[in-house]
């Protein structure tokens, strides 16, 4: 995924990134059907996430909508299942490995984040954090379609690349959840400090549950991020990456690692819990998002990327 990535065709369909020129009427019909399936899955996924968002908000806003609170996580699960199907079908149709290329990577992050949320929500009692997870998943889904589908140039396809991308995707999924828990924590903490407990967020999970969840997601994601940083450094050295976007990506990657390392260390050593840890987590996640933004700038062929590439 270096600066020398080559594009395979234009974006004829929002969800058909790898469409190439049709060579025969049969092939054209086949690709049309495939595009229809992939587009349908995309729309269904986005609808499920959107409906989950609406139900979560309705549940938070009105005590009478308790059914909405039960349905919303199920819609997240439905959205994640459709999303995973969408990724698999797309990768099969266009013969692309889903862990290669930012287009799929962003999708995979949101699916993994949803999956981890669905598994952990009962254990950590953070069901309501879904109100942040669902929009995040929807954002990643839509953002992935803003990113032009590219595949790595042959010289960047090293054996370590799939490992690098896979651990980073898992890490990003966990950090997304840590971020959601941190935001929920800050909201809940503010309400408790200001002693205004009524309002739309009155059903947020307990402070300690949010703090604990945030910490555990960070703990789980940090080793993956560390492996991602190490493999990324090795990969960059191997392919001799040195463009402006490569450097920016590396800088933001290291900043992400340092932020999360700082949060975890200060928590263990100096008792940085709660609000400070939440701010640190949000800062770390912001750097992680900047890494994706650099990918995005590069994929849409922004001026810097063009200049660099």
């Amino acid at each position: 995924m270096g600066c020398g990535e080559r594009r395979r065709g234009g974006r004829k369909s929002a969800s058909a990134p790898y469409v190439s020129g049709a060579s025969s009427p049969n092939r054209a019909r086949f690709e049309h059907v495939n595009s229809f399936i992939v587009d349908g899955l995309f729309v269904a996924t986005a609808s499920a996430y959107l409906a989950a968002c609406v139900l979560f908000i309705a549940f938070l806003g009105n005590e009478r909508f308790s059914l909405a609170g039960k349905l919303a996580p199920r819609l997240v699960a439905l959205g994640a299942a459709l999303h995973a199907t969408h990724i698999v079908v797309s990768s099969v149709v266009w013969h692309v490995c889903p862990v290669e290329g930012i287009h799929f990577a962003m999708s995979v992050v949101s699916v993994l984040a949803c999956a981890v949320y669905l598994v952990m929500r009962s254990r950590y009692r953070i069901d309501v954090v879904g109100v942040f997870v669902a929009p995040l998943a929807l954002t990643f889904l839509l953002a992935s379609h803003l990113v032009a589908a590219t595949e790595p140039a042959r010289r960047y396809r090293t054996s370590i690349l799939p490992v690098h991308v896979t651990v980073n995707l898992l890490g990003y999924a966990l950090f997304s959840l840590a971020f959601a828990a941190a935001v929920a924590y800050l909201l809940q903490e503010k309400r408790l400090k200001e002693k205004r407990l009524e309002g739309i967020f009155r059903r947020l999970p307990p402070l300690d549950a949010l703090d604990r969840a945030e910490h555990r997601f960070l703990l789980a994601g940090f080793p993956l991020l560390t492996i991602g940083i190490l493999t990324g450094t090795y990969w960059a050295h191997e392919v001799e990456a040195g463009s402006a976007t490569d450097i920016a990506r590396a800088v933001f990657g290291y900043a992400t690692w340092l932020s999360f390392a700082g949060v975890l260390c200060l928590r263990a050593v100096a008792g940085w819990r709660g609000r400070r840890a939440a701010y640190g987590t949000i800062a770390g996640f912001a750097f992680a998002v900047l890494v994706l933004v650099v990918y995005w700038i590069k994929s849409v062929g922004g001026p810097a990327a063009v200049a660099a590439g």
């Binding site: 009692r125 809940q188 408790l192 400090k193 002693k195 407990l197 009524e198 999970p205 307990p206 402070l207 300690d208 549950a209 703090d211 928590r267 100096a270 008792g271 940085w272 819990r273 709660g274 609000r275 400070r276």
Partner: protein
């Protein structure tokens, strides 16, 4: 006439109210000091978390303003407030039927921060008992407080104002759960071993595995710890206990802060930032307010908790209208009784005067022209005159009582006084007769049960 002077959660913040708060042990002295003012005939002192009020009856109908002033001065003296003008904006006066309405509304919990809360009636009863024991209640104010008990009971039974009770304890538990989630693995520290600590322990301690009781008197701490299944700790160990506890319920009678900013700051370093939640139900407060500003520390005092309760109880306000109607009806009844009482001296004088005149004339006749009558015959004549006087006065007495109970009755009473040349200025009801403590207590109990 009755006068009420005081301050409450509606007019004064907690930091002002706690200055005037009075514990039960000094109440007799405060009552005695109030009763020593010649402007005041009857006195009762009510001190709760939400209000500090003096209910009194003035020595004369024209002395209401003087009575109110005397009460303010006495309250400021008691609280050690040098300049009464400083706290003047926090005080309110209620006089006459406004005062009666206020007392009834207080007893009915219509003036409480938490509409329909059940504790206030017991607190009024305790204040009534203290005033009765101190001998500062008479028939007028005493009767008013009795009616207040009835009003409180009526409002609770005839409306749904107390339905779906949300107490301070339940709100404290809810807050603790918003912070910690499950309380099973958390430690609750009770600072103070009084009734409030026990009540809080019953709610908060129900879900908690560890309860520790810290009190100046270790013996009392041990008794409460035994009752709630916890451990008693020495008062000196408070600093260490703050590093262990997750929820601290403070309810000591200390007038100074027991938990200071510095103490908590030190504890939080040792706790490595673990969250600490203070429930400060003491008035005056036990926990320094600035503690709330420390990271991961939350302090909720009585006002904060009651505010949360009030938010939860907004649905009760529709019931308040029905309760207000009951109060208005009872105030009218009491006013009628008061006016009826004011007629009594006129009736007594009218009867005495009529009887004296008739009997005087009879005696003079019996000593003159009818002196030949036998003793039996004279006794029969006296009996006849007595019966005649009673029959003659029966209708006027009844009418006078009826008219006297109405709002314009005073004019009719004055007319009778004029027609029969009776002394004017009807006496204040309850001018005599300080209430007997035993009788008052039994009356109050009867009304409450």
């Amino acid at each position: 006439m009755i006068v009420v002077v005081g301050l409450s959660h509606r007019t004064a913040p907690l930091e002002v109210r706690e200055t005037f708060a009075t514990s039960a042990d000094v109440l007799p002295a405060v009552l005695a000091r109030l009763a020593s003012h010649e402007e005041l005939r009857e006195v009762m002192f009510l001190s709760t978390c939400n209000r500090v009020e003096v209910f009194a009856s003035a020595s004369s109908p024209d002395g209401m303003a003087a009575a109110a002033k005397a009460i303010r001065m006495a309250l400021c003296d008691h609280a050690g407030v040098g300049d009464p003008e400083v706290v003047a904006p926090y005080f309110y006066d209620r006089i006459g039927s406004d005062a009666v309405r206020h007392i009834f509304r207080v007893a009915a919990s219509l003036d409480s921060m938490v509409l329909g809360e059940p504790q206030i009636l017991g607190q009024v009863k305790a204040a009534f008992d203290a005033a009765t024991a101190a001998g500062t209640l008479g028939n007028h104010l005493g009767r008013c407080i009795h009616r207040a008990f009835t009003v409180g009971k009526r409002v609770r039974t005839e409306t749904h104002i107390g339905a779906g009770s949300v107490s301070i304890s339940s709100v404290a538990v809810d807050l603790a759960k918003r912070i910690f989630g499950d309380l099973t693995d958390h430690t609750v520290l009770l600072l103070g071993a009084g009734e409030m600590a026990e009540a809080a322990a019953k709610s908060l301690g129900r879900g908690s595995r560890h309860i520790r009781v810290c009190n100046r008197s270790f013996e009392r701490a041990a008794i409460l710890a035994g009752a709630v299944g916890g451990d008693a700790v020495q008062w000196d160990a408070l600093g260490d206990e703050l590093t262990r506890a997750d929820v601290v319920v403070a309810s000591t009678a200390s007038r100074a802060y027991v938990v200071t900013h510095e103490l908590v700051k030190r504890a939080m370093k040792l706790r490595k930032g673990r969250t600490l939640f203070f429930v400060d139900i003491a008035v005056p407060r036990n926990v320094e307010p600035s503690v709330h500003a420390i990271d991961n520390v939350y302090v909720y005092n009585v006002d904060d908790l009651e505010q949360q309760v009030a938010e939860a109880m907004k649905s009760r306000t529709s019931e308040a209208d029905a309760a207000e109607k009951i109060v208005a009806h009872e105030v009218a009844d009491f006013e009628a009784w008061t006016r009826g009482q004011s007629v009594a001296p006129t009736i007594v004088r009218l009867r005495a005067r009529t009887r004296a005149m008739l009997m005087g004339e009879l005696e003079r006749t019996l000593a003159g022209r009818l002196r030949h009558l036998a003793e039996g015959d004279q006794a029969a004549l006296r009996q006849m005159m007595e019966s005649g006087a009673n029959k003659l006065l029966h209708a006027p007495t009844t009418r006078l009582r009826e008219i006297g109970a109405t709002e314009g009755g005073l004019d009719a009473v004055r007319s009778v006084q004029y027609l029969f040349d009776l002394p004017d200025a009807p006496e204040e009801p309850g001018a005599s007769d300080i209430m007997d403590p035993d009788q008052a207590g039994s009356d109050a109990d009867r009304l409450r049960h």
